[in-house]
């Protein structure tokens, strides 16, 4: 039992107990938001952190799935059908995204995903017969799995927490698997990986699919949480926001995107209540993170902590050397 495990245990207990120590329903809802945005960020991190592929079109994928769920529900189908249809639409869209974007890497990949994301946003905005344009689509009810009505903030939070826990474990298993090692190898030395017998393109494609699956799961939780979807959700700023969650928390780490999501959602929904210029504060926080810990909050804090520990022990050493005759 090391310090890290104790900290994770405490965090897990705190998450389970959120409805008991949070000051009100509003904050329970904020916690739900943090959790599904964390799933979204975990999904993007598969590409950005472990695959070395920066996507600026993930809000497009997120939006397609959310719209699909809302549209199917609006057409009179039940929640199970809507969820599976949305996941299927999300998977197909991800496959198309990946097939187009993986023709390039680096800046080329960013630009293609950016363009695809903007196309989806444009469709949401203009394809009014399906999306109702600016008015968006309302989702009238939340599902009630096993007789638990997710209409209340607390039950919805717990449902989100269960899904979140499953996603975290899935990412943890994925990253430590042989396929995860192959993905990171393809990030660091694609040419060598090819010469070693790996199909680099296919590795990246399946990583996109896993990333897309997590994005879709987050999108379904989102659309049930807000019970509303409009083109704003698909805008470029949404893609940038999730990317900032990943980068500020620490790309290529398991905890980083979760911490990043907590930071962004907290500033956005809690601080914005007290501070009109909350965007300014968020920007200032990001600049501070980039300057002090460019690797992100989680690995950066770990580094500073080790540094502080070393500093605390350091004064002892000169005293020892002085004591020598």
């Amino acid at each position: 039992m090391n310090g890290r495990n104790i900290a994770l245990g405490v965090a897990a207990i705190a998450l389970v107990a959120v409805p008991y120590w949070m000051p009100g329903v509003y904050y329970v809802n904020v916690s739900s938001q943090i959790l599904f945005y964390a799933i979204f960020a975990l999904g993007l991190n598969i590409l950005v952190g472990y695959g070395g592929l920066v996507s600026l079109g993930h809000a497009g994928l997120f939006g397609i799935t959310a719209y699909a769920a809302a549209y199917v529900l609006q057409s009179g189908y039940n929640h199970t059908e809507a969820i599976f249809a949305a996941l299927a639409v999300g998977a197909v869209s991800t496959a198309v995204f990946a097939a187009l974007a993986l023709r390039a890497t680096g800046i080329g990949f960013i630009m293609i995903t950016l363009a695809l994301g903007q196309i989806i946003w444009g469709l949401a905005y203009r394809w009014i017969s399906v999306t109702h344009g600016d008015n968006g689509i309302n989702v009238k009810t939340r599902p009630a799995p096993f007789g638990l009505d997710l209409g209340s903030a607390v039950t919805f939070y717990y449902a989100t927490l269960v899904v979140f826990a499953i996603c975290v474990v899935a990412v943890m298993i994925f990253v430590r698997s042989p396929f995860g090692a192959a993905l990171m190898g393809a990030r660091d030395q694609p040419r060598r990986m090819n010469a070693l017998g790996y199909h680099v393109w296919a590795i990246r494609f399946w990583a996109c699919m896993f990333s897309g699956l997590l994005t879709s799961i987050a999108a379904i939780l989102f659309v049930y949480y807000t019970q509303f979807i409009s083109p704003q959700t698909l805008a470029l700023t949404s893609s940038a926001e999730v990317l900032l969650m990943v980068i500020s928390g620490g790309a290529g780490t398991l905890l980083g995107p979760i911490v990043g999501a907590a930071l962004v959602v907290t500033v956005k929904s809690v601080v914005s209540g007290f501070l009109e210029r909350w965007n300014f504060l968020l920007g200032a926080i990001f600049v501070t993170i980039v300057i002090l810990m460019p690797e992100g909050l989680v690995p950066g804090s770990a580094r500073l902590w080790r540094l502080a520990c070393a500093k605390l022990r350091a004064p002892v050493k000169p005293a020892v050397t002085e004591a020598k005759p």
Partner: protein
């Protein structure tokens, strides 16, 4: 049947004809040295053989099988392994993980996203064995970032050997090594069994000449001289093109 047969291989980059109708025939178990001045097209020839570049014309055959159209990643599965002149390793990982990736590349397990790689203990075990062969077994768990240049050269060779290749392509395995390190690498290359065919590019004539049975001299993308050690060294064209006197 030859281990490697190259016929009429040509490659141009724009107007620059880097490889011009190269023919090469390497017998199983042979140690072949490819020499030539800078820009002779040696590494390009390697890239054409491994499939990292597609030739404009000509064919490449591995043990009688025409692999000209086979994807380069498939050639690794057919028994071809290479090292790089510019060291190409996984700098964030440990030495043994580098070799483990080489082993995983040929295993169907590389597609497995469900189990922990550490549970696949045989990759680690065989990785350590390969590192023992190149004399790095004692520092297998060291991060690659903390190794010397000479050690990295040997990691390159360990990764290639770990794949149990039938044809091993070594691109300047002695480049940048000290005299002692060169001797170590030479010893380890001499210990490779004869069921592995080796084609080596090398500038360092003293170690390389000792190693090779047959030598091919490339100049401006063409084979100028080919023969055994004595023939090539004695040939006036070698002296003119390569040795410079």
């Amino acid at each position: 049947m030859s281990a490697l047969t190259v016929t009429g291989l040509s490659k141009s980059f724009g107007g620059l004809r880097v490889t011009r109708g190269v023919d090469l025939n390497v017998e199983p178990g042979e140690r072949r040295l490819i020499i030539g001045p800078n820009g002779a097209g040696k590494t390009t020839l390697f890239n054409l053989i491994t499939g990292e570049l597609t030739p404009d014309s000509g064919t490449v055959s591995l043990f009688g099988q025409n692999i000209t159209r086979v994807a380069s990643r498939r050639r690794a599965h057919l028994g071809m392994a290479r090292t790089y002149q510019i060291i190409t390793l996984f700098g964030r990982d440990t030495i043994v993980h580098n070799v483990r990736l080489a082993l995983l590349g040929l295993s169907p397990a590389r597609w497995n996203p469900f189990t922990n790689l550490r549970r696949h203990g045989h990759f680690t075990d065989r990785g350590r064995e390969a590192l023992d062969r190149v004399g790095l077994g004692h520092i297998a768990d060291r991060p690659l970032a903390q190794t010397s240049y000479g050690e990295r050269r040997r990691v390159e060779i360990a990764m290639a050997l770990a794949q149990n290749p039938k044809l091993l392509l070594l691109d300047e395995p002695f480049a940048g090594l000290s005299i002692d390190e060169r001797r170590d690498v030479q010893k380890l290359l001499l210990a490779i069994p004869r069921d592995v065919t080796i084609v080596m590019i090398e500038h360092n004539m003293d170690v390389a000449l000792e190693f090779a049975e047959r030598i091919t001299l490339l100049h401006f993308g063409e084979v100028i001289v080919e023969g055994n050690r004595a023939e090539v060294v004695a040939d006036p064209r070698t002296r003119e093109v390569y040795l410079g006197h």
